[in-house]
């Protein structure tokens, strides 16, 4: 039992503060407003317009086959809408998920020319997705890692709006597709996620070495505490009666851990 108590003591020194942070952040996740923390307070809920025949009916578009032959080899060609106009989106290299690295080119369906999403286009796309009271404050091209969206592996345009929650809109710089909105409510929740996941390096992950180490030590702390509690139970230290106080006094003098704490 002495070993169990030793483990419990020193494990608590090591992980005690983090354990408190886990509980506080966990409690926050329990009580937080689950809609607010999505960061979509000023996101316009426009359904993506269907890509229809009529969009490209009256002007002669260049056939996908011609486009595919002219550009770098692609594994898919998709008709997408950017600011309500159709474009071909060529994917040369596809990531398993959208936020993984994807090598893409946006092509004008009528001229067959590559389209670069510049500052102005990015601002317009952001404005289209925004229904808040603010105006655009800054537009910056960013390369990953990006603090607000740590999982994103593609270059993005960050469009910051001046409003009460400091909305930021993220647009994929090669495809022109909206990635997400972020704002102060989301960042506040992200702070608690950072604490809970011990993601102090902002990797957007809970598989970092520090949390693995702490979780293992916490296991030792909890299991030693559990054994200790069971032992206390067997020794009769949990009794509901007036004699409890008496027992408590007794146990203080019995247990070795009481050394050096008597006043």
């Amino acid at each position: 039992m002495r070993l169990i108590k030793l483990i419990h003591k020193w494990a608590s020194v090591f992980v005690g503060i983090q354990l408190l942070l886990w509980l506080v952040s966990g409690f926050y996740f329990n009580i937080m407003d689950h809609d607010k923390v999505r960061g979509n307070q000023y996101r316009a809920q426009i359904k993506p317009a269907p890509v229809l025949y009529s969009n490209i009916n009256n002007t002669s578009y260049i056939d996908p086959k011609t486009i595919l032959a002219e550009f770098e080899k692609s594994q898919s060609l998709k008709i997408v809408l950017v600011l309500d106009k159709p474009y071909y989106l060529l994917t040369h290299q596809a990531g398993l998920y959208r936020h993984f690295y994807n090598k893409q080119t946006l092509v004008n369906v009528y001229s067959g020319e590559e389209v670069i999403i510049d500052k102005k286009v990015a601002s317009n796309i952001a404005n289209q997705s925004y229904n808040g009271p603010g105006t655009i404050q800054s537009v910056t091209l960013k390369k990953p890692p990006i603090e607000d969206i740590p999982k994103e592996k593609n270059p993005v345009w960050q469009i910051n709006f001046k409003d009460d929650v400091n909305t930021s809109v993220y647009i994929n710089a090669s495809s022109g597709q909206l990635i997400k909105h972020s704002d102060d409510d989301k960042r506040f929740a992200d702070f608690f996620f950072m604490l809970h996941f011990m993601d102090y390096a902002s990797e957007g992950s809970f598989n970092n070495w520090q949390i693995i180490l702490f979780s293992i030590i916490t296991l030792w702390l909890v299991l030693s505490g559990f054994i200790w509690t069971v032992e206390l139970g067997f020794k009769g230290h949990y009794k509901f009666s007036l004699s409890m106080i008496k027992n408590e006094k007794q146990s203080v003098s019995e247990q070795p851990l009481s050394h050096g704490i008597k006043k």
């Binding site: 056939d63 996908p64 898919s76 998709k78 990531g95 909890v222 851990l257």
Partner: protein
């Protein structure tokens, strides 16, 4: 009573009731952080083939598609194993057709589903079971992916690939480690109903646990830091 005595008493009694919850939290938490989330998500179960579209195989133009299917939406041209295919949507229905022959491929049959599953699956294991799911999807498959084939492989962790019957794409994948992760998460957030962390049980557990941990920290402070100068007296 002194702060130390009160803390010891509270810690002892609170942990009598919370002990099991702390074991659940630490065991499930450790599981979730130790196993790499990309592994849990089965990313290593599938191969991301980067097969380019062979332009010479395309015989059907976009105009042909639009003439035949004037209501086609979200048209795209991609590769199915090694043939170019058009995929699009008509009135909420997904259609796939061969861009060389124009043959409609959707919905795919079981033979094709097996062929696709083997193509995308990253290892070389045998298929143990295949089933077409049209309604009542299992917990691990979203309803929007129906109809889909579930292809189970005979391998460690019982992996399954779910292949959409219209698009022929792998819509999701699962193995026991992910299924276990889902359970671990539910226990971690003390949710035995809908999988959201906003339940009352967790609310009260967290509040009482806060007291239990704070009193524990008080004990640690007295035992370890305040006693430093009295170390000579202490047995450990």
């Amino acid at each position: 009573m002194t702060l130390l005595k009160t803390s010891r008493k509270l810690h002892k009694w609170l942990m009598l009731f919370l002990g099991v919850q702390f074991v659940i939290w630490s065991v499930t938490g450790a599981y979730m952080v130790i196993f790499d989330i990309d592994y849990i998500h089965g990313d290593s179960l599938v191969t991301q083939h980067q097969t380019p579209i062979d332009v010479n195989k395309i015989n059907i133009s976009l105009t042909d598609i639009i003439k035949k299917y004037p209501d086609a939406q979200n048209i795209n041209l991609a590769v199915l194993i090694d043939s170019p295919v058009y995929r699009f949507k008509i009135a909420q229905k997904n259609v796939m057709l061969n861009a060389s022959s124009g043959e409609v491929l959707s919905p795919i049959n079981e033979v094709m589903a097996v062929k696709l599953a083997k193509h995308y699956y990253s290892a070389d294991d045998d298929i143990s079971e295949i089933e077409l799911l049209t309604n009542n999807p299992p917990f691990e498959l979203s309803k929007r992916h129906l109809p889909a084939y579930r292809v189970n492989f005979e391998a460690f962790g019982s992996p399954s690939l779910y292949i959409n019957a219209h698009s022929g794409k792998v819509v999701t994948k699962r193995h026991e480690f992910w299924r276990l992760f889902d359970w671990m998460f539910r226990f971690h957030i003390a949710d035995y109903q809908d999988g959201e962390p906003d339940n009352l049980l967790l609310f009260w557990l967290s509040i009482v646990s806060l007291f239990a941990v704070i009193t524990g920290l008080v004990l640690t402070y007295y035992r370890v830091f305040k006693n430093k100068r009295k170390r000579a007296n202490a047995t450990y």
